[in-house]
């Protein structure tokens, strides 16, 4: 297909691949980017929240023309039982700032915009092109890729794999293992359209203000997982995801779980009268630090979801993707300027640089959390129920004196989980969180 040689080949045009391709092209490197979708974004799925800081470090003035939906001024965290939710809401006018911190976005539109910037910077993008394998020299170093465009090949000094959670290229080349059912979540999502005035009235918003809801509890029917609802300008993204191995053990379907979440009395009024225009599903790597594969080798680097860069506790991923893409690219540019080989030994600089950023610091901080949550299902079923029961006992005025109510609440917790269990769970959570 393309006979000329490139400085770098980037596999994938999502946040990590685009960040890498943009950064290298802008520094004058000859970059080929390959995307299997019809257009960048056509295979990509996210909630989606854009974290401004990570993108600002790549395209400082992105707000001028990026397709942003709403800036987030309110975060709601809900624990839910079948008929109730206990919420922690944080809303602040401080988030109505000149350079807002978080935005809701629609990925198919955002990825197309980002890709336009990559091409403006000088990278060559080929869509509808699936990379089928990595090419290696006799010494085993990666020297290029083969594609399904007539089996065509392309060669470069480095291949950056931004192929996503479901990436097959690195896996089939033996650079990383297949995903494990207990460290990956399956999420399903729908896009529900409503007039913007309706969304603004329902969520108490004006202008481009937005609300995001993250929810856990009986909505996942005992499985480790969460639900979410994000406000866009004229649509609502609603979804739910659980660990795949939990799904295999349950009797629920992913779309049945989503349907039940949508019908929950706390959620249903927010969606009333909406029109669903798309249903998507995607995997999310949730294994954290302990599930991370080797990140670099002779002639290759892995970035974004393909490298398991997701902070499941804080629901962050796209910012880690962009940051790893940028830092991988900066490392390549730095080595090329010094005329050093893109060898495994030299590319260890990529990991060294990542260790200095929030990416590796957060991955390490929460390394015990995925395993903890997977083995402590009380946090998704029993505790949300107890919390809701306690709130109802406390708020319902029914002639029962307050001291008796306090006793009832305390007893409900002890009946649900022995005191030793309660203390043990709190201790284990604190230890995993540290």
């Amino acid at each position: 297909m393309i006979e000329e040689r490139f400085d770098a080949i980037v596999v994938g045009a999502g946040p990590s691949g685009n960040a890498a391709a943009y950064t290298m092209a802008k520094e004058g490197l000859k970059v080929l980017q390959l995307e299997r979708g019809e257009y960048p974004g056509s295979k990509n799925v996210q909630g989606a929240i854009l974290y401004a800081d990570a993108l600002e470090k790549i395209i400082p003035d992105f707000r001028e023309d990026a397709p942003l939906e709403r800036h987030v001024i309110e975060q709601r965290l809900w624990t839910m039982d079948n008929g109730s939710h206990v919420g922690m809401h944080y809303r602040s006018d401080d988030f109505n700032e000149e350079r807002p911190n978080r935005y809701t976005i629609i990925r198919a539109q955002f990825d197309r915009w980002f890709s336009g910037k990559v091409r403006e910077a000088g990278a060559v993008l080929l869509c509808e092109t699936t990379v089928t394998e990595l090419l290696r020299d006799t010494a085993g170093r990666v020297i290029g890729v083969r594609t399904d465009r007539g089996g065509g090949t392309a060669f470069a000094d480095i291949v950056i794999l931004g192929e996503g959670v479901n990436g097959l290229v690195g896996q089939r080349a033996g650079l990383r293992p297949e995903l494990k059912p207990d460290t990956v979540a399956l999420a399903v999502k729908e896009m529900h359209f409503l007039p913007r005035e309706t969304i603004e009235a329902r969520f108490n918003l004006k202008g481009n203000e937005g609300v995001v809801i993250e929810a856990m509890g009986t909505i996942t029917d005992g499985m480790t997982g969460t639900g979410f609802l994000y406000t866009n300008q004229e649509s609502i993204s609603i979804g739910i995801g659980c660990i795949v191995s939990d799904f295999t053990e349950s009797n629920r379907t992913p779309y049945g779980l989503l349907e039940a979440f949508k019908r929950h009395p706390s959620v249903q009024p927010l969606l009333e009268g909406s029109e669903c225009k798309e249903y998507v599903a995607h995997l999310i790597p949730e294994g954290g630090y302990n599930a991370m594969p080797q990140l670099y080798g002779d002639g290759w680097i892995v970035v974004g979801d393909a490298g398991q860069f997701v902070n499941a506790v804080h629901r962050e991923g796209s910012n880690l993707a962009m940051t790893t893409g940028r830092i991988a690219a900066e490392t390549v540019v730095w080595l090329k300027r010094r005329r050093e080989a893109l060898s495994k030994a030299n590319l260890s600089e990529y990991q060294r640089r990542l260790e200095e950023t929030f990416v590796m610091k957060d991955m390490k901080k929460y390394r015990k959390i995925p395993d903890f949550l997977h083995h402590n299902k009380h946090f998704f079923n029993l505790y949300p129920k107890l919390l809701s029961g306690a709130a109802q006992t406390w708020f319902r005025v029914d002639g029962v004196d307050k001291r008796t109510k306090e006793k009832q609440i305390f007893q409900s917790f002890r009946a649900g989980r022995k005191l030793s269990g309660l203390i043990g769970d709190a201790f284990k959570l604190a230890r995993s969180w540290r």
Partner: protein
Amino acid sequence: MMNISEAGGTAPVKVEERLFQNRYMVDAGRPHIRIRPHETPSKALLAMTRLCPAGCYSVNDRGQVEAVVDGCVECGTCRVVTAQTGELEWNYPRGGFGVLFKFG
């Protein structure tokens, strides 16, 4: 495709109605997922009849699992779940084919 009613749910939840909203470029005659011939499906493959978010898997009258992947959303769950059993041959659709997300 299937029509599965949820345990404890109020009404059957149909996945076809959801997929109807999506855009696909079907590579006719070249399914990107194939099930290897089998007599009895593993527990993992059987679980896909419920777990597949696009309802691509069903059981035929001989108890074998079949797949119609035209509505596949390319999540990869079936590949991950059956990785140990090796019952699936899983590839991406050819470049440009398969699901095309309008919003994603």
